[in-house]
């Protein structure tokens, strides 16, 4: 367990010293959001209608882009071999890595999203729904994405492949997340959608680390 804690600490320190690691996804998030008023229509009424979906799609893409690097360095510099040799459970290790990834990508997104939703003219009632749906949804994005990241860690130009592999799996989260925000915007009940997201999170948290651990082992035979 101490190895997992040490890895989490190390990764957080690295992220703190390389602000780009957590700032770049945020900037990407902002830029994608800016594309929609420019490309489609800057009319506030129209923006309010699409805000829920657009913010969620942008958050999803930003997470996806930051995933590529999740295991790459550890595979390349031999850290992965050390983990396996240490006898520490890969399951815990996978959870630890995902936790760090969420701290530097999902959490900042969740905190900044309400601010950016302002620019998209999201109805006031929807802010708490946006915050809570992202708070529950982004860890699932990190967990599912970690499977793809582990599978493609050893592949050159794995970024595009990662998106191909993972995007279809993100659809349910996108549907429930965006619909929670949309329903809050038209003053309807949205606890059900959050409930679904919470249950997806529980399933993903218990099952995906197995897949991540299995996929990480593949990188050894290369």
């Amino acid at each position: 367990m101490s190895l997992v804690v040490a890895t989490i600490k190390r990764d957080l320190v690295i992220a703190a010293r390389n602000p780009g690691e957590w700032l770049n996804p945020l900037m990407f998030f902002l830029m994608v959001l800016a594309l929609f008023p420019l490309a489609v229509d800057p009319d506030p009424k129209f923006l309010a209608k699409i805000a829920a979906g657009v913010v969620w799609v942008a958050a999803l893409l930003a997470t996806l882009l930051s995933l590529d690097a999740l295991f790459k360095a550890d595979v390349e510099d031999g850290t992965l071999e050390q983990w396996l040799a240490s006898g520490e459970s890969l399951y815990a290790m996978a959870l630890g890595k995902v936790f760090v990834h969420w701290c530097i990508s999902g959490l900042p997104l969740t905190l900044v999203a309400p601010l950016l939703a302002l620019m998209m003219n999201l109805p006031e009632e929807a802010y708490s729904a946006l915050f809570f749906s992202l708070l529950l949804g982004t860890p699932i994005l990190s967990l599912l994405g970690a499977v793809g990241a582990a599978l493609t860690a050893g592949v050159r130009s794995g970024g595009l492949l990662l998106s191909l592999v993972i995007l279809p799996l993100y659809i349910p989260i996108l549907i429930f997340g965006a619909s929670a925000v949309y329903h809050a915007g038209i003053e309807m009940e949205y606890a059900g959608q959050l409930g679904f997201l919470a249950s997806f999170l529980c399933i993903a948290m218990t099952l995906t680390p197995f897949a991540v651990a299995g996929a990480l082992k593949l990188n050894l035979s290369r």
Binding site: V155, L161, L164, L167, L169, I171, F200, A211, R222
Partner: protein
């Protein structure tokens, strides 16, 4: 019974045994497949009564529905074969899984194409974001993901394992995707555009459909046998028995 199954399983693990036995089994799948599909097509297209609402355009159901059913069950079979490979390290299972992926994707594509062609006369457009069409499209994406991942890996073993892991993750996700898409769909638009429900079909329309479904399954089995036989030959190309086989054919 159990012992016999276990023996069959262990024999299945031997590529050479599979290659020899599948040559004998192949016609028992291929000929009934051809018969079922000919009978089903002719019956369905020429003799089944026309639908009172959709007229003759409903007849595409005899291709569309079997292809859609096959596309879904093929994904499950691929994931199960992958699991067998991951758990018991049975190479044959990996080769079967690898041969299923493109076949399943093709059936998925056929289902989407025929769905679009069917949609034009009945709904007035080629594409509607109907729950079933959308979840079929996502299934096609899942197939593409597995195939792209298998292609990108540099060794055969990692390709097989990575494909197996991804298809298992996908298998867990398929029901979630399916139900969330259905749920999304009922919220966004009223479900007026439902396809003909199978259970309410008239008997003389249903029987050719069932024959076609059986025919498609047999065709699927035939294709898997053929592709897996190729896989066996390719992977075992340096083994003695394959060399002898090739020599024997050359001498003939």
């Amino acid at each position: 019974m159990w012992e016999a199954l276990k023996r069959l399983y262990h024999r299945m693990g031997s590529p050479k045994w599979f290659y020899e036995i599948s040559a004998r089994w192949l016609p028992w799948f291929a000929i009934p497949a051809a018969l079922c599909m000919i009978v089903g097509t002719v019956w369905g297209l020429a003799f089944a009564p026309a639908d009172y609402q959709q007229g003759n355009s409903f007849r595409i159901i005899y291709i569309h529905v079997p292809a859609a059913i096959l596309a879904q069950s093929a994904y499950a079979m691929m994931a199960i074969a992958g699991a067998i490979f991951l758990i018991w390290r049975m190479k044959m299972a990996a080769w079967v899984a690898a041969s299923i992926a493109p076949i399943g994707a093709s059936f998925c594509f056929i289902a989407l194409m025929t769905g679009a062609i069917w949609g034009k006369p009945t709904w007035g457009t080629w594409w509607v974001w109907d729950a079933r069409l959308t979840s079929m499209l996502l299934l096609l994406f899942l197939y593409f993901g597995v195939m792209a991942l298998q292609k990108a890996m540099d060794t055969e073993d990692t390709a097989a394992k990575a494909g197996a892991i991804l298809s298992l993750v996908g298998l867990v996700n398929i029901p979630i995707i399916k139900y969330s898409v259905e749920w999304w769909n009922t919220l966004h638009q009223p479900a007026t555009l439902k396809l003909t429900e199978e259970s309410t079909m008239a008997m003389d329309m249903l029987i050719p459909l069932l024959i076609m479904i059986v025919g498609f399954y047999l065709l699927f089995a035939t294709l898997i046998f053929m592709r897996t036989r190729n896989q066996v030959l390719w992977h075992e190309r340096k083994k003695n028995w394959v060399k002898k086989l090739i020599q024997a054919q050359a001498e003939r």
